[in-house]
């Protein structure tokens, strides 16, 4: 059991709002595991007041990812410098679930919230795979008839399939490229222009948000990098 295996496990944990791994976002302040299998992870966020529901999901998901590793005997995941740190850390350590952790302040677990943001990720992912096609001359109308299997392989496509699968939406080769992210039904010709426009806007929103979060995290921690942090070409002029 090595700390690189630990980091690899943490790479599977995403910020549900930004749809990116917490590692590449710089949210993992440190992670280590002892020879005996005691794993320790410290997480950090861009602000003291980042939404507690998303914060909870990331801490809980990180705990699950680490605890599931075969070599880990005991997992401790701690969120630092957040207004609800103590409540979240205690709740996750006790495996209490969100409702019990925020007793009296929440009435349901976060599946609904997570699904809502996965749908946004599907919309943004749709723009990511469609844009190169459009740039290469594919007519917007032609996208309607396309299936996922007809698209050239890419990481963006893998990601789109994975998000669609998580939601229980069709993701196989014969699945339509353009689908309603709630019902999974193929988009109609009439709705296609608006659908593509919404997909683009959703992507701009998520990516701009991600840029702001990275900027604030850098400011907050004086450019100290997180474990596995990646600096993407964040402000790319490219589509």
């Amino acid at each position: 059991m090595s700390s690189s295996a630990l980091l690899k496990a943490l790479e599977t944990v995403r910020d549900p709002e930004l749809d990116e791994p917490i590692t590449s976002l710089g949210f993992v302040a440190s992670c280590a595991v002892s020879a005996a299998g005691d794993a320790q992870v410290r997480l950090r966020l861009p602000t003291y007041f980042c939404a507690p529901n998303f914060a909870y999901l990331m801490v809980a998901d990180a705990y699950d990812a680490v605890a599931a590793l075969p070599g880990v005997r005991h997992a401790e995941v701690v969120l630092e410098d957040h207004f609800a740190s103590d409540v979240i850390n205690d709740g996750v350590a006790a495996q209490a679930g969100f409702v019990q952790t925020f007793d009296g302040e929440a009435v349901s677990e976060l599946h609904h919230l997570r699904a809502n943001f996965l749908r946004k990720a599907v919309m943004a992912g749709t723009d990511q795979v469609c844009r190169p096609l459009l740039a290469a001359g594919t007519e917007p109308a032609a996208l309607l008839a396309m299936t996922l299997g007809e698209l050239p392989p890419s990481r963006a496509l893998d990601r789109l399939r994975s998000r669609r699968s998580e939601l229980g939406l069709p993701a196989g080769d014969d699945a339509a490229l353009l689908i309603d992210p709630v019902t999974g039904a193929p988009v109609t010709a009439e709705n296609a222009p608006l659908h593509l426009r919404k997909a683009k806007l959703t992507r701009v929103s998520i990516e701009a948000n991600s840029g702001i979060c990275r900027g604030m995290l850098r400011h907050r921690y004086n450019d100290t990098r997180g474990q596995g942090e990646k600096t993407p070409a964040v402000d790319s002029p490219e589509p």
Partner: protein
Amino acid sequence: MYEHNGEKYFIVDSHMHYWNAAPDNWVPGAEQYAKGWIECFHAYQGLGPPETHWTIEHFQKYSEDDLMKDVFEDGHVDVAIFQPTDLKEWYKEGFNTTARNAEMGKKHPGKFIYNTNFDPRNGDAGLEELKRNVETYGSKGVKLYTAEWNNGSRGYKLSDPGAYRFLEAAQNLGIKNVHVHKGPTIWPLDKDAFDVADVDHAATDFPELNFIIEHVGLPRIEDFCFMATQEPNVYAGLSVVIGGLMHALPNFFAKCMGELLFWVGEDKMTFGSDYGIWEPKWQVEGFVNWEMPDSEAFSDYPKLGVAGKKKILGLNAARLYDIEVPAEYQLPAEAGTPAAQDDAQLVAGA
């Protein structure tokens, strides 16, 4: 007033503050929140140009002289609209109250407009206070902070019956403009804190009121745009969009502006510096100089011309607040009516 290439721009800063967030104003027992709040604001300032950054001490409490210099002398602003944020749970005298704003502003006649606020959770006493504030300060607008903590409650929705009672009362008192801030920790915590659906309901049910969504619902600009495009009385407050993106992430700034111009339109966007988070000077100058990039990625966004910039920087807000604009700053008739509501139909052509 800002002049560039022979064009004269009338500047209304429709979203700015005069706060005291220094330790002398922290509520005992809530110091960590008071400190965390202002540090979070300070981190936003980090997204502006380095030469405009302040020390945390200066940022916690700036003086009247600082404000007058930064906003009016150096910042090109003609009229500034104070948006209060009480936060009395954390700050003894409040963070940035209407009273504190007016106390300072009365020494500078004609420069400021005092918006007030309300909190439906304060019930009848809150209604009385709203009435008193409107009478005392002549407020035409309110700033609502739906995520504000209040006696253990961490927020409310604008569509709550209690909120409707206040919106009705505000309208009867002559309030025209409702600025809504969407922020974290709204109750219940299991819902999306930035959800703007409650504004959608209120905007439909109060067609006489204008709803200006500050920070355009960032980080949910998509939800805001889908909503705003269907509601003729919903406007985009650009505070944070210009301050947070124009310098730090210029390409995302252009994309966000492109989306807002497409979905909401230049008649329904208003400039706000969010001072003291960011100084208006670099924002006004940068925005007047800004052009939508020419490259392919931006080709399906509307361009923004001089007339559009004049509307966004001042004329739209001037119309919402009945601010008199000297003739030399006004647009020729063919440039359209600032703050016109009919842009809400734009998406029909999407």
